[in-house]
Amino acid sequence: MLSIKNLHASVDDKEILKGLSLEVKAGEVHAIMGPNGSGKSTLGNVLAGREAYEVTEGEILLDGKDLLELSPENRAREGVFLAFQYPVEIPGVSNINFLKTALNEIRAYKGLPPLEAREFLNRVKEKQKLVEFDAKLANRSLNEGFSGGEKKRNEIFQLAMLEPKLGILDETDSGLDIDALRIVARGVNQLRSQENAFIVITHYQRLLEYIVPDFVHVLYKGRIVRSGTKELALELEEKGYDWIKETVDAEKAV
């Protein structure tokens, strides 16, 4: 589904990603781990097409389509969803109205008519239940006055509503207590299917106990330096990132 080859990307002329390659197939969950500053969040932003991130080399294909050619909104319409690490507040814009607009824009892109009001509301109800999102929050202004946990849950609720092909969770676990983490993880697990795929970006192994990945990749200095299964995450947890740093830097020195 997603094919990233030799990706180089810079922010403010500083190269952050230095030749990253990754293959993600439908139905898979890939975890991206790594120390601070390794380029984890950059990867999410580059995939979503954020402006400040300049791709200098490499390619990203989503089901054969060149993502780098597409604007952020068209990437979203093609099925790329980024659950933000820090979701912004947009005062006065109701959560529901926002979702309706988003959903119908995506549908229009695919040549589908707007959802009828009742269908839409049914979907809202169904997905609210699925990801355990408080109905009251759905009717409030977008993220305005939400707690950190509520914001993260809203991201998962949106993900449920928009049904993307590729969901990228950018440190969704940060700032969550264990209960909120469980709810978020349960929501994501409910949404996993053979048609979609997830990239779970996280600093800690903790989240991966709840969202069990098929593959774990370790990002360091802008490249994937280790790939494995969920056992790699456990090893990492045990030995710490210094272990990766030392071994990789040592390999390089050779």
Partner: protein, 483 residues
């Protein structure tokens, strides 16, 4: 904004003004120029009584002696008052009683603007409309139905003929002829406008509205609106306005006076969408308007809501004189400027009575190279014991070439008064835009959503039917302004 946004900002074409068409109809137009003869001609055309002619002539003499103000936050354009025609009316004299006798060309003009003049075509009893085309009112709907309750809703000209005592009593009582130079000009040459009287204890059964349309070239529109809510009466009134796209600037200098007696309440809403000029600032309406209400009796209330998106220059301060004890004045405003538009707008709240309260919520939105100023006066008189004011004044900037300015004035002569002022300035953030586009929303639509959210508190004040219109208008007005 980043460089790509800047590029988009330049690239995107200007959304064409939707109401820029002209109506081809035979007109009766007064020769250009302003002098006593002009005033006499207008007065004669309208078959006015002698006292009104004298009143107009007095205003003209004031006008000729007054100077242009210099305090405003824009360069006052050169207006050649001798190069304007002060009266323009469709030639076939419209009959006001039957739809069949209104010129079909006019009916279709207003239909194109979304203003049905045919009562049967309106959903039962939603809104009564007075349609003003250049200098005259062409049709007032639902008059009979309103009459049943004693509500008078007619053109100003008819009010002069049919209710001279009311006109004489209140005309110029809130906005004196000498208030400012454009008020003096209007008093001399005003043509038509709307007149509303709600009798004691009557809650007006429907929304009243006036739709102003400038059509003729080289003319100005100088309408006069007078609304009186008698004791315990209530009325909600809305005005809308559009004009054709023309390369020359046109002057719109209206005067609106509101009078609320004891326990009376007037809610006045404006959705102003005069032609704003093209993207280089060519053409457009100069919207120089004086609007003021007086809460004359105790416990009365006047509320202004305005959504200003049009005009080359918008210059007005709808205010309230809070004379009655416990009276309430409110001002809710959204002013959106883009391209080379200018807005210098705000309000005046004059507290005279005891326990009077006023609330001001102003939301400025600037895009392009426009300049958007809030200017507001809160004045507390010595007798205004325990009066209160709350002012909230927000500015939203789109791009980095526009300006937002705030000029709050406070004059307080009573120690028991409580005044609060809050102000914020913000930019539409790249992070907000990215958040919405990442969910598949088109960038322009995203800005429309953000702006409507920002203006929500004010839009919520509009009557339901118009709130939807105003939301669309804000979104459309921003098309092509943003990346």
């Amino acid at each position: 904004m980043s460089t790509k946004d800047d590029e988009l900002l330049k690239e995107l074409a200007l959304e064409e003004y939707k109401y820029g068409f002209t109506t081809d109809i035979e007109m009766d137009i007064a020769p250009k120029g302003l002098n006593e003869d002009t005033v006499r001609l207008i007065s004669a055309k309208k078959n006015e009584p002698e006292w009104l002619l004298e009143w107009r002539l007095k205003a003209l003499r004031h006008f000729l002696q007054m100077d242009m103000p210099t305090w405003q936050n824009f360069e006052h354009p050169d207006v050649d008052f001798q190069d304007i025609s002060y009266y323009a009316a469709p030639k076939a004299k419209p009959q006001l009683d039957s739809m069949d006798e209104v010129d079909p060309e006019l009916v279709s003009t207003f239909e194109k603007l979304g203003i049905p003049l045919n009562e049967q075509k309106v959903l039962a009893g939603v809104v009564a409309v007075d349609a003003v085309f250049d200098s005259v009112s062409v049709k007032t709907t639902f008059r009979e139905k309103l009459k049943e309750q004693g509500v008078i809703f007619c053109s100003f000209g008819e009010a002069v003929q049919e209710h001279p005592e009311l006109v004489k009593q209140y005309l110029g009582s809130v906005v004196p002829q000498t208030d400012n130079i454009y008020a003096a000009l209007n008093s001399a040459v005003f043509s038509d406008g709307s007149f509303v009287y709600i009798p004691k204890g009557v809650h007006c059964p429907m929304e009243l509205s006036t739709y102003f349309r400038i059509n003729a070239e080289n003319t100005g529109q100088f309408e006069r609106t007078l609304i009186i809510a008698d004791e315990g009466a209530y009325v909600s009134y809305l005005e809308g306005c559009t004009a054709p796209m023309r390369d020359e600037n046109q002057l719109h200098a209206a005067v609106v006076e509101l009078i609320a007696l004891k326990d009376g309440e007037i809610k006045y809403s404006t959705v102003q969408n005069w032609y704003p000029g093209d993207k280089d600032g060519k053409g457009g309406i100069y919207n120089f308007v004086t609007k003021r209400g007086i809460c004359k009796g105790d416990n009365s209330k006047i509320s202004w809501t305005q959504v200003e998106t049009g005009s080359a220059i918008t210059w007005k301060y709808p205010g309230v004189i809070l004379k009655g004890d416990h009276s309430v004045g409110e001002f809710y405003s959204v002013a959106l400027t883009r391209n080379k538009q200018v807005a210098d707008t705000g309000t005046k709240m004059i507290h005279l009575g005891k326990n009077t309260r006023s609330k001001i919520v102003s939301k400025g939105i600037s895009a392009g190279v426009s300049q958007n100023s809030y200017r507001g006066l809160v004045k507390i008189g010595p007798g205004a014991e325990n009066s209160r004011n709350f002012t909230q004044c927000d500015s939203l900037l789109i791009g980095d070439r526009c300006g937002a300015h705030t000029f709050p004035y406070i004059e307080n002569r009573n120690k028991t008064a409580k005044l609060e002022h809050e102000a914020t300035t913000s930019k539409i953030g790249e992070d907000q835009l990215f958040y919405l586009t990442q969910r598949g929303i088109d960038p322009e639509k995203a800005v429309g959503l953000i702006v409507n959210g920002y203006a929500k508190e004010v839009l919520n004040q509009l009557p339901m039917e118009f709130a939807v219109e105003a939301q669309k208008l804000l979104a459309i007005s921003l098309e092509g302004s943003v990346g």
